[in-house]
């Protein structure tokens, strides 16, 4: 962990507005500090992620939730180095996560891996499952022989029969394909997985199977997992901590149970109220009026104010900074007494 201070110093030099109070514990495996990610240039520039501070410990599942367009996928991609940071940085085991370029990825980033949403497009249809998974081993310096040996173990690990190695992706259901994709990332011996909506494209029964598999992997190997999802009810079931994102910002982070039982940010509250419950009582979920605003022209002040039921005058002008309340961080002037940024 010696390298961390040196890089941490460099990060803070370029960061005038690092969020207050987000001191990461020294054992953070993945650390995001003041991260901004832009798409486009000049007048067309859109800031998809705007000043996010987060960290994740080994053996922890962090849920990242928000509506589509809030920047959660972009944040996930930036965490593994698939999108360049416009400001701030991501550090993994004390080393900066460099953006994936044309050169080989630095060896020390191999343990940081990603699982994508759609197992129909993330697996090459013309290569056998054994070859797809074996690549992870070969790229890590293993021989073909070692790869062939490990494939069987990895398939077993994700609950697939060994003979699956001879087959092709189209012979499997969506849930099985996602298991194959997970086995492929496991071939790189990851210590941190970023899973972007890993179960959204799957059938109801497969969703629970894959969510359980990811949970088991974390418990058995102290893997750190960032579970990105728009479905708060699934995140609630598996995540230790949850971060709620709105229009490029984290509005509330805390232990899942606390956030669920007593959401403080009005946006978190609206997200939870909108989940229909399968209790047969016929209660319509609560609607949050309006749409996520255009991130190219974010509202002034608090970004949630145009849709917020608690809006006050000051919310229109003051941009709230995250403040510690009830053992979590919430960015809300009204509920959390946040100061301006």
């Amino acid at each position: 962990m010696n390298g961390r201070n040196a890089f941490g110093h460099r990060a803070s030099a370029g960061l005038p507005t690092n969020g207050a109070g987000q001191k990461s514990p020294p054992d953070a495996l993945l650390e995001v500090a003041g991260l901004c990610v832009d798409y486009g240039r000049g007048a067309k520039r859109v800031r998809a992620v705007d000043g996010v501070d987060l960290n994740i410990q080994p053996g922890e599942i962090l849920g990242l939730v928000g509506e589509s367009g809030c920047g959660k996928s972009t944040l996930g991609r930036a965490m593994v180095g698939l999108e360049p940071a416009a400001q701030g940085q991501v550090t993994f085991r004390g080393r900066p996560v460099t953006t994936l370029g044309r050169r080989r990825r630095p060896a020390d980033l191999r343990a940081l891996q990603m699982v994508f949403q759609d197992p129909y497009s993330s697996l090459n249809p013309r290569r056998s499952v054994g070859a797809l998974i074996g690549d992870g081993v070969i790229l890590g310096g293993g021989s073909r022989g070692v790869a062939a040996q490990r494939v069987a173990g990895l398939l077993d690990r994700v609950g697939l029969p060994v003979d699956a190695a001879e087959k092709y992706p189209h012979e499997f259901s969506g849930g099985q394909r996602q298991r194959i994709a997970i086995a492929r990332t496991l071939a790189a011996d990851p210590t941190c997985l970023i899973a972007d909506e890993p179960i959204s494209a799957l059938d109801a029964s497969a969703q629970a199977q894959v969510a359980n598999l990811l949970g088991d992997l974390v418990r058995e190997t102290s893997l750190a997992l960032v579970f990105i999802s728009h479905d708060l009810s699934v995140v609630r079931q598996i995540a230790d901590r949850v971060a709620v994102m709105y229009l490029g910002r984290i509005v509330e982070v805390g232990a899942t149970e606390r956030v669920w039982a007593n959401p403080i940010h009005p946006y978190t509250e609206a997200l939870i109220a909108a989940i229909p419950r399968a209790d047969g009582r016929g209660i319509l979920p609560v609607e949050l009026p309006g749409d996520v605003p255009d991130p190219a022209r974010p509202p002034t002040g608090c970004r949630f104010h145009p849709r917020c039921p608690l809006v006050e005058d000051r919310c229109r002008s003051i941009d709230p900074a995250p403040a510690p309340v009830d053992r979590r961080e919430v960015a809300c002037l009204v509920r959390a007494g946040s100061g301006g940024k």
């Binding site: 059938d203 109801a204 598996i238 997200l271 047969g280």
Partner: protein
């Protein structure tokens, strides 16, 4: 009184390279005016095929059996011309993905008014006025501006609202909604569900909603049908199916859900995966995944029988009967 839509013993066989297989196997259901009927099932259960059959939109070479009476006509025996008069006019459909169901390079006005002018014979300005009213009904802000826009200029939730407006343009009496909210955020989903509920109350619109999301069912459906492997395995009122499910598959689907009110625990998935077309097991289609299966489940085809009033079940073993025993007395 006859229902608005009465489907009797519907079967659909689809041709594949390996031969012809039943995607829908002898299902019967009815929808009344102002009623919301839900069909739940995983992919390959035949739920979407059921909807496509009603509109005569099956793939080439598909064969159907049974009847589907709608307003005194059998939809399965209508001529193409007759179906053209019904599709989009009396029965409309909203599909899962608004990004593909709307035409990307035609304006919203064109897509909203084209079938209105064709079916209802209204003029251009009349159609435009109606279109503005429809967009207001589905709560699109600034409808006049929206008319000149293209689908790509709207968010997913707004596009689905526009797709619903297109479906409602000719004032249909029955709306087929195939996973209408699956691609949307929960906040937007809540808005769409409230919209469907309002249309049912205000216009007596009948809705056949297809989804795999039991939460959505619980919020909006009056009655629920559960499909598995092309068959109807259980049907009944919303409260019966969701609070007192009798079929092991329905029970499994409910158990696999994260419980918002319960404590944090492992999710309990159903083992295995649903059968694909042509690979439906003999006997009860669910038996390979069923924790209660007995040898007779592998051979005998379970018939759908009424277990309590309005609650029908295709499981002769009925292992969950005792758990719900009180229900049948008060039922």
């Amino acid at each position: 009184m006859a229902g608005l839509l009465e489907v009797e013993h519907l079967s659909v066989a689809l041709p594949t390279a390996r031969g012809s297989f039943k995607a829908v196997d002898d299902i019967s259901l009815r929808v009344d005016s102002g009623e919301i009927l839900g069909i739940v099932g995983e992919s390959g259960s035949g739920k979407t095929m059921t909807a496509l059959t009603l509109l005569g939109l099956l793939p080439h070479g598909a064969r159907t059996a049974g009847t589907a009476h709608f307003n005194g006509m059998d939809l399965l025996r209508c001529t193409t011309r007759q179906l053209q008069q019904i599709r989009g006019r009396q029965i409309a459909m909203v599909s899962q993905d608004p990004a593909t169901s709307l035409h990307p390079i035609l304006t919203v006005e064109r897509q909203l008014t084209e079938h209105m002018r064709h079916h209802l014979g209204v003029g251009r300005s009349e159609a435009r006025t109606r279109a503005i009213g429809l967009l207001a009904t589905v709560r699109i802000p600034d409808p006049e501006q929206a008319l000149t826009s293209y689908p790509g200029q709207f968010s997913g939730g707004m596009r689905q609202r526009i797709a619903i407006a297109v479906a409602l343009a000719c004032e249909p009496v029955l709306l087929l909604a195939d996973e209408p909210t699956t691609a949307l955020d929960v906040t937007v989903q809540a808005g769409i569900l409230r919209l469907l509920e309002r249309l049912r109350t205000e216009r007596q619109l009948a809705v056949l909603i297809i989804t795999h999301d039991l939460g959505v069912m619980s919020a909006i459906a009056d009655r629920v049908c559960v499909m598995y492997g092309g068959r109807l395995v259980e049907s009944g009122s919303r409260a019966e199916i969701l609070s007192r499910p009798r079929h092991p598959y329905t029970r499994g689907l409910l158990d696999a859900l994260p419980h918002p009110e319960g404590g944090v625990a492992q999710l309990r998935p159903i083992v295995g995966s649903p059968p694909s077309l042509g690979r439906v097991p003999p006997g009860c289609p669910f038996h390979p995944r069923c924790p209660y299966a007995v040898p007779s489940c592998r051979t005998g085809r379970p018939e759908l029988v009424e277990v309590t009033r309005g609650h029908r079940l295709a499981c002769p073993v009925d292992p969950l009967a005792e758990l719900t025993g009180q229900a049948s007395v008060t039922g």
